[in-house]
């Protein structure tokens, strides 16, 4: 569905932010992108959504080449939730904020209302009056509003850039459940996060970026289970994974570890 071939990008007067990246994301995949600050994760996301154009190589969303397709057209397929919701929100009410993209796509007002109400409910903003001005919301609430505006459009690929900032654990889980539902419907999710607990629980595949390059691309179990690799690259492995290793077992999440312990000690 999404394909990148030998993609590079350099900011003016800056270092090469994305360096010769090739990858593809299929329908129904739940992919996590990890890497330290400045590794190129957000730049990669912006290249996928067409906000940035590759200086070398190409990015295709379905059949659309992002270099020659307007961003508005790409946005019909890829929804991108920025790390900072203030960069996304510009309407005077939360209703209009979520309705904006739907109106642009020519939906009828009754369908728009249905989707707006549903999307706000999904992110726990259903109790807010629809005419609430976004500036009255807290950072976390604004973040959820930004997520709702993208969810309402039901994109083929949802990109979440550090969605856990400003979200508490319960809401992170809820957001992951929404993503899971999208994935079951055949949509794809790309999540940029430092939260290995959520990745271990929900993502099928992990991409690791470093200095603009993808240095690892594999199944979640394989990448997050490779403690030596994670430590060498300065990441903090999950404690349940570390405990599993101390016990001579293989498991990532607490649930998997409990099962592994019981299997060996019936």
């Amino acid at each position: 569905m999404i394909e990148l071939k030998n993609v590079s990008f350099t900011y003016p007067n800056g270092p090469r932010a994305v360096d010769n990246v090739s990858l593809s994301i299929d329908r129904g995949e739940f992919v996590a992108l990890i890497g330290h600050s400045g590794a190129g994760k957000t730049t990669l996301a912006k290249l996928i959504v067409g906000l940035l154009k590759p200086e070398a190589g190409w990015v295709k969303v379905g059949d659309l080449d992002t270099k020659t397709t307007p961003v508005s057209k790409i946005a019909e397929h890829v929804g991108y939730v920025f790390q900072n919701p203030d960069l996304m929100i510009f309407s005077a009410t939360i209703y209009n904020e979520v309705a904006f993209a739907l109106r642009n796509r020519g939906y009828r007002e009754n369908e728009i209302k249905k989707r707006v109400v549903q999307a706000l409910k999904e992110v726990d903003l259903g109790h807010k009056p629809l005419d609430t001005p976004p500036y009255m919301l807290s950072f976390g609430e604004k973040h959820r509003l930004a997520i709702a505006s993208v969810l309402a459009t039901e994109p083929d690929l949802l990109i979440l850039d550090e969605p856990t900032t400003g979200l508490d654990y319960a809401r992170c889980l809820k957001l992951m459940e929404i993503c899971e539902r999208l994935v079951k419907k055949g949509k794809s999710v790309l999540i940029i996060t430092h939260d290995f607990g959520l990745i271990a629980e929900y993502a099928d595949r992990v991409l690791v970026m470093k200095k603009g390059r993808i240095i690892r691309d594999g199944a979640t179990k394989e990448v997050l289970g490779d403690i030596e690799f994670l430590e060498k690259e300065g990441f903090m492995p999950l404690q349940s994974t570390l405990l599993a290793r101390k016990l001579g077992l293989k498991a990532l999440t607490p649930r998997e570890l409990a099962s592994a312990i019981l299997e060996r000690n019936p």
Binding site: G35, G38, G140, S240, L242, L247, L257, I261, R264, N265
Partner: protein, 289 residues
């Protein structure tokens, strides 16, 4: 016996314009040198509590505070926040908006300069803060060229130069990557080991919190709903999860095993978990199969 660093009794607080109380009936005592970690879902009042203890509400941010708020023995509702200037330092989550000068040493000197301290004393404090946070060599660096973790260390150091008796940090790692997080958490550990400072942190990194906290406070809807040592708080798995707090993953392993009928204690740290599990099941048996 000296005054407690923080003594709150039946405290209610809200911002100007808000109808409901953000903090409701909070009673809390923090001992000298204690490390308190505050957890809870977003909007539960954690940051507001920090702002009440720091005297920001109602003195700088308009709002209403009721009850008794004593910080370092000073009734700040009566005496105003100026009475605690220099005694309490607050570090916020976003390092970008806290660092304003063009060199690390200028940044660190700013607060003691504003306190009107003599030059030698300022230099001494800047050197101390650089040392304790591992920022030696950064003196001339422009903070804008530093990584997020390094900037947050500078923000903490610039508060430390006031030599506060209480340091409060509001989600100091939530905008940092793993490297930045390790840097900041190690710095806080270092402060704990080398100073008498009382530290209050709002922090979601539970696996760090259980290693260093003397006390964990869980808040929900403006109230303190759980309070105790890490072991006491996380032995109550169902309640903790109900309040939207992520338990340590090693505690979750125990919850899972307990849910499947095994009566084992709930560990909170990796080392304890290994001990508990190797006592219950023979580790050799686990390993050899």
């Amino acid at each position: 016996m000296g005054a407690l660093p923080v003594e709150l009794e039946n405290v209610y607080a809200k911002y100007a314009g808000s109808e409901d109380w953000i903090i409701e009936d909070v009673t809390l005592k923090v001992d000298r040198g204690e490390m308190v970690v505050i957890m809870g879902p977003s909007g539960c009042g954690k940051s507001t509590l920090i702002n009440v203890i720091g005297g920001l509400i109602p003195h700088i941010v308009a709002g209403v505070v009721k009850g008794k708020v004593k910080v370092e023995g000073i009734d700040i509702l009566k005496e105003g926040y100026r009475a605690i200037v220099g005694k309490v330092g607050i570090v916020y989550q976003n390092p970008e908006i806290q660092v304003i000068t063009r060199s690390v040493s200028e940044e660190l000197a700013m607060a003691p300069e504003n306190l009107g301290l003599p030059r030698d004393e300022i230099i001494e404090r800047v050197n101390w803060a650089l040392e304790i946070l591992g920022l030696r060599g950064y003196e001339k660096r422009d903070p804008q060229t530093l990584s997020g973790g390094e900037k947050q260390l500078v923000a903490i150091a610039s508060v430390l130069t006031m030599q506060p008796r209480i340091l409060m940090l509001d989600e100091p790692t939530s905008m940092l990557d793993h490297e930045g997080t390790k840097m900041v958490l190690n710095a806080i550990n270092n402060l704990r080991e080398n100073t008498e400072m009382t530290v209050i942190v709002v922090e979601h990194r539970v696996e760090w919190a259980v290693e260093v906290a003397d006390k964990i406070i869980v808040m929900d809807q403006g109230r303190i709903v759980l309070e105790g040592s890490p072991a006491e708080v996380f032995s109550r798995g169902e309640e903790v999860k109900k309040f939207g707090v992520r338990p340590p993953s090693v505690s979750e392993v125990a919850y899972e095993l307990r849910a499947r009928g095994l009566d084992i204690p709930v560990p909170v740290r990796l080392s304890e978990a290994y001990k508990v599990l190797s006592e219950v099941f023979s580790v050799d048996r686990i390993k050899e199969r």
